[in-house]
């Protein structure tokens, strides 16, 4: 039994946000106070009340044409879930992995104390879980475990009108992903599947990973790559202490850093 998986075809997403709304409705989560931060993306980030968020990022393709990259961000339900291992060090029953579906589910009754300063990025390579700062409870998508029990698909998948969101047995989803990848690669050779071996939410992207926010793939250098494009890199403490001083362009320094 290999459990369940999602296949998310980003080439079909129109950012209607049906999935985002369906998630809120099924989970009965309240609306958030938001503000315009210069994007149609709303709200600005995931939170303990927004478990699913369609991210909007603008970028240019190779010809310089402006493109919009839509990225419905959610928990990937990792095969080896680091958040489970990390959070269970503090409370042994904080996170469980459902043996039938493979869903990684947080125990709603577990609350970590105020002194516990774990950040989302410390427990998740995709920066997804969020902590309710008032209660100390960590939350994220649970693959609609209650709906699966009733034989339904997750709310986001049911709501998707474009065929972006697919859900089913892992083998079937991997097969579908490979098939669709081959199809897309005919016209867009850069297309790739994001970490298909590691996660149960397999994204098909047709542009570089850093075009889709910071964590489409689990890559520690992803954020740095995006920041390096935006502004010159500062001297890091580690480089300073080890006597590696950066005088060159950010691109050169990035290469030097990789050689370590």
């Amino acid at each position: 039994m290999n459990g369940k998986s999602f296949f998310v075809d980003l080439t079909l997403c129109t950012a209607c946000r049906g999935c985002q709304v369906a998630c809120k409705q099924w989970k009965d989560l309240p609306a958030e106070q938001t503000r315009n931060f210069g994007s149609h993306q709303n709200p600005a980030d995931l939170s303990h009340q927004t478990l699913r968020l369609v991210r909007f990022n603008e970028g240019r393709d190779k010809k310089g044409k402006l493109r919009w990259h839509f990225f419905p961000d959610q928990c990937r339900h990792c095969i080896e879930p680091p958040c489970k291992y990390m959070l269970n060090m503090y409370r042994h029953d904080a996170v469980t992995q459902d043996s039938a579906t493979g869903a990684v589910v947080y125990n709603e009754a577990v609350r970590l104390g105020k002194g516990n300063g774990l950040t989302p990025e410390q427990i998740c390579p995709y920066n997804v879980p969020r902590k309710n700062q008032e209660t100390g409870q960590w939350t994220k998508c649970d693959m609609c475990a209650d709906r699966l029990d009733m034989g339904l698909k997750p709310a986001c998948v049911t709501a998707c009108p474009t065929g972006t969101m697919n859900f089913g047995d892992r083998e079937a989803m991997l097969e579908l992903a490979e098939k669709r990848l081959a199809e897309v690669q005919k016209t867009r050779p850069d297309a790739f599947l994001a970490d298909p071996e590691s996660v149960r939410v397999i994204y098909l992207a047709d542009s570089q990973a850093q075009d889709f926010h910071t964590h489409l793939i689990a890559d520690a250098g992803q954020k740095a790559k995006i920041l390096a494009q935006a502004r010159p890199r500062k001297q890091s403490r580690r480089e300073f202490l080890t006597g590696r001083f950066s005088f060159g362009t950010p691109a050169e320094n990035k290469d030097a850093r990789r050689k370590i």
Partner: protein, 150 residues
Amino acid sequence: MTHRLFILLAAAMLALGLSMSVQASDPEPMEFYAPEDELWINFIQGHSDKDLDVAFNHYSHEGYDCIECHHRMGELKGQASPRSCSECHDNYSPDDLAGYTSYFKAMHKIRFAPNASRPSCLGCHTTEFGAEDKTMTGCANSACHPGGIR
């Protein structure tokens, strides 16, 4: 003249005596030879059939005292060389993390004040490099797990 010579001699004797007493109170520092490079640590048994191994170099940690990681060395009173982490932390399951025997916990637990003593690998990296440096404190595709966690 002889008076001055006597004072000089006394001073010299005193200096010699002091230096000898310092030498006497300072025991020979213990020398240990650590296995140096590319120590592949592969104890944690995950759910996939892939390895979750980490390459550890004593060489890149030579700025630290042995006892900072081999924290039970003090009890040995210098009688034996440092032992492998796995001799005490011998529970290699990432699912059962109770008690000190958990190997995963020994490597990953970030302790927060006021109980911030005895850092793990990840705890020390977080203090040294800051949580923002995902190459050194990150999870999948960091310097520790460059091949991802799968």
